[in-house]
């Protein structure tokens, strides 16, 4: 019976293959519809509109009607050169990125190696607990680190005192505020750790076995096999690390307020953008700042993809 049924169905589907394929396309488009709409309404058109706004003097205190703004050509772009906060904010962001990117590469990779080790007892518990800080809301994380980094009662400076070091005043010290934020952001390495873990588990065990037979030591194996095999993932996390550094600012806003205290040392690029747009309401100039960020991210992504295609070793090529 069942066999007969399926034979009949197969025959029927053969007859209507052309029709069926077209119908499949229609179904496929139906399933993609939410994204089509979302992409147009919340991403593509807004970017185009940001571009338009960057040539206007629109201020958010007034309603958005044609009478309330005028086209001012490139004035907003000219303003970049007289903006006293711009260079500072780029410097702050760069200083943060210079620490955040290497940390964001090394720490999750080391964690992943650790929790992937076949020698580790109860790896699931370790994975869960290493991931845990990642689910902690940023506002709570900021509160916790304000306590931990407290110069008097915080545990970090207390621990430093034990070994005879006078700890810095971290978040109150303009020189130490950025490293403090780096420490805070390295807490949420869980996702990167899982990405590395997935990659490590994707390395075929045969290669390791062969290398053991060839007498390769574990350090040698790490640099000769593991690193090349997971290089696409390393690349992906580094790219994302750079991009995320440019977008970092919520913790800085919570700790240093809108002025990037102490003394403007936490005035991140994005905080500068937020201030221009939603504190000073200067949406025209803020659009320029947003576009610069967009262009920087585009360039970085393209560069990384170029590099990725050229040098990085690909185990599988389905993407």
């Amino acid at each position: 019976m069942a066999v007969n049924d399926s034979v009949v169905t197969r025959a029927a589907s053969k007859v209507s293959r052309g029709n069926g394929a077209r119908q499949r396309v229609r179904w496929g488009i139906f399933f993609l519809t939410p994204w089509f709409i979302g992409f147009l309404a919340f991403q593509l058109l807004p970017i185009v509109f940001t571009f338009f706004l960057s040539f206007t003097d629109y201020n958010a205190t007034k309603e958005f009607t044609p009478d309330n703004f005028k086209l001012i050509g490139l004035s907003n772009y000219a303003k970049l050169f007289s903006d006293p906060d711009l260079l500072n904010s780029l410097g702050v962001t760069l200083k943060f990125a210079l620490i955040a990117v290497p940390l964001g590469l090394a720490v999750p990779l080391l964690f992943a190696l650790l929790v992937n080790s076949k020698h580790l007892f109860a790896p699931n518990i370790f994975r869960t607990l290493y991931y845990l800080p990642t689910v902690i809301p940023i506002v709570a994380g900021v509160m916790v680190f304000q306590g931990v980094l407290n110069p008097q009662s915080g545990w970090i400076d207390l621990a430093l005192k034990l070994i005879g070091v006078d700890g810095p005043r971290w978040l109150q010290d303009p020189n130490w505020a950025i490293p403090a934020l780096n420490i805070l952001s390295v807490w949420a390495v869980g996702n990167a750790m899982l990405i590395y873990l997935g990659a490590l588990q994707g390395v075929p065990t045969e290669i390791y076995e062969a290398s053991v037979l060839d007498g390769a030591g574990s350090v040698r194996r790490f640099f000769a096999i593991t690193i090349p095999m997971i290089s696409p993932v390393i690349f992906y996390t580094v790219t994302l690390g750079v991009i995320n550094s440019f977008q970092f600012f919520v913790a800085a806003l919570l700790i240093g307020g809108r002025n990037g205290d102490p003394q403007g040392s936490t005035m991140f690029y994005n905080l500068h953008f937020y201030r221009e747009a939603f504190v000073f309401n200067d949406l025209g100039y803020a659009s320029v700042l947003a576009l610069i960020l967009f262009v920087i991210v585009m360039i970085l992504t393209t560069l990384m993809f170029r590099f990725l295609q050229g040098r990085v070793f690909y185990a599988s090529s389905d993407f």
Partner: protein, 362 residues
């Protein structure tokens, strides 16, 4: 692990056999790696230890000299109707816990609680250098204070509503889109997919100003709609994760369902979704945590609407004022993270499987 293929007579088999034995007798490395893992975890989770310890401390303990790191209160001894503080006093016959009746600059009057009948005696030395005796005494005061100060009931209600509705929207839309990309031949699909992937790195700043203007125009600012509605139109990250997982489900299952008369929608519901529970769990948690965590979007769209604020925005006001009250700040932090943390612990097995096996990487 060890393949037993190829020809039987081979010199290769011997070292293989030894390797296998080595792996079996690996107590030394196991101990080493596990201890290393524990040390790293201790350092990494130290802030959480600080948070919990401080949240349960009485506020006076923070400024007290020589107070322990755990929540504790000074032990007192009741003598003639007075509560006297206990100190660890070095005496000729070793360290003793004595109650101080009266302290002076260079000496102090003590009484031994073990032998009160011996009466008050004098001890030469500076009592301020002595360690007070503490006993473990966690307090819930910080939690009750923070609960009322911050208005947690309202914030919890708001956050839960926003998080649940937008997670449902994300699930419906992302599952649909991921299924579309995973299983259908659509003209230009590869290009569309690359466009989708590249929106992962799209900075939200590039779109927020026009969206802010748009939502103001249609009267959505000051409501939850800007936080909820976009979730119903899929996002690249979750679509990608689901699509990778869907692709790993054998196509034969779909075909069998089609033979049984299923259309693509019923195939999705009855075949694909039940097979993809780990990935769906991962996406659910990712989005739920994201919403619970999100600070920027509600900050922009809910300006001046304190009664609609979610947890992140409601608590942010106290980051400044509570920075001088670490005990209350830590109680607040505990209350803020408790829901995501508990959810994560309950779902961690599925979550890890969903994320790691899909490989968010490729």
């Amino acid at each position: 692990m060890v393949t037993t293929d190829q020809s039987p007579a081979k010199p290769k088999t011997r070292p293989m056999f030894q390797l296998r034995n080595m792996l079996r007798r690996d107590i030394g490395p196991t101990l080493l790696v596990t201890v290393l893992g524990l040390v790293v975890m201790l350092i990494f989770l130290m802030p959480l230890g600080y948070m919990v310890a401080t949240a349960f401390k009485p506020e006076t303990q923070l400024s007290a000299q020589n107070a322990p790191l755990w929540p504790a209160k000074p032990v007192t001894y009741s003598y003639q109707g007075q509560d006297l503080p206990l100190y660890n006093v070095p005496l000729s016959d070793g360290m003793k816990q004595l109650a101080m009746v009266k302290g002076f600059r260079e000496d102090a009057n003590f009484i031994d609680p073990a032998h009160p009948e011996k009466g008050v005696f004098d001890w030469i030395g500076r009592y301020r250098t002595l360690d007070p005796v503490y006993q473990f005494a966690p307090t819930l005061d910080n939690f009750t204070t923070a609960w009322d100060d911050v208005n947690f009931p309202l914030l919890f209600r708001n956050t839960l509503f926003i998080a649940i509705v937008s997670t449902i929207g994300t699930l419906i839309s992302c599952i649909m889109v991921a299924y579309g990309f995973a299983r259908f031949r659509i003209p230009g699909k590869n290009i569309l997919f690359i466009v989708l992937i590249s929106t992962i790195v799209l900075p939200p700043q590039a779109t927020i100003i026009p969206l802010y203007i748009l939502f103001s125009k249609i009267g959505w600012t000051g409501t939850w709609l800007p936080l909820i509605v976009p979730a119903f139109f899929a996002n690249a990250y979750d679509v990608f994760l689901l699509r990778q997982y869907f692709m790993s489900i054998p196509k034969e299952l779909d075909e069998a369902a089609v033979m049984d008369g299923a259309n693509p929608l019923t195939t999705l519901i009855w075949v694909i979704i039940p097979q993809a529970i780990p990935a769906i769990t991962a996406v659910t948690l990712f989005h739920f945590f994201f919403t619970w965590n999100d600070y920027f979007t509600p900050l922009v769209y809910l300006v001046g609407k304190d009664d609609l604020a979610p947890l992140s925005v409601g608590i942010a006001k106290f980051v400044g004022t509570y920075s001088t009250h670490p005990t209350r700040a830590m109680a607040t932090a505990v209350l803020t993270m408790i829901v995501p943390a508990v959810m994560f612990f309950f779902a961690q097995r599925q979550f890890m499987q969903g994320v790691v096996t899909t490989g968010v990487d490729k």
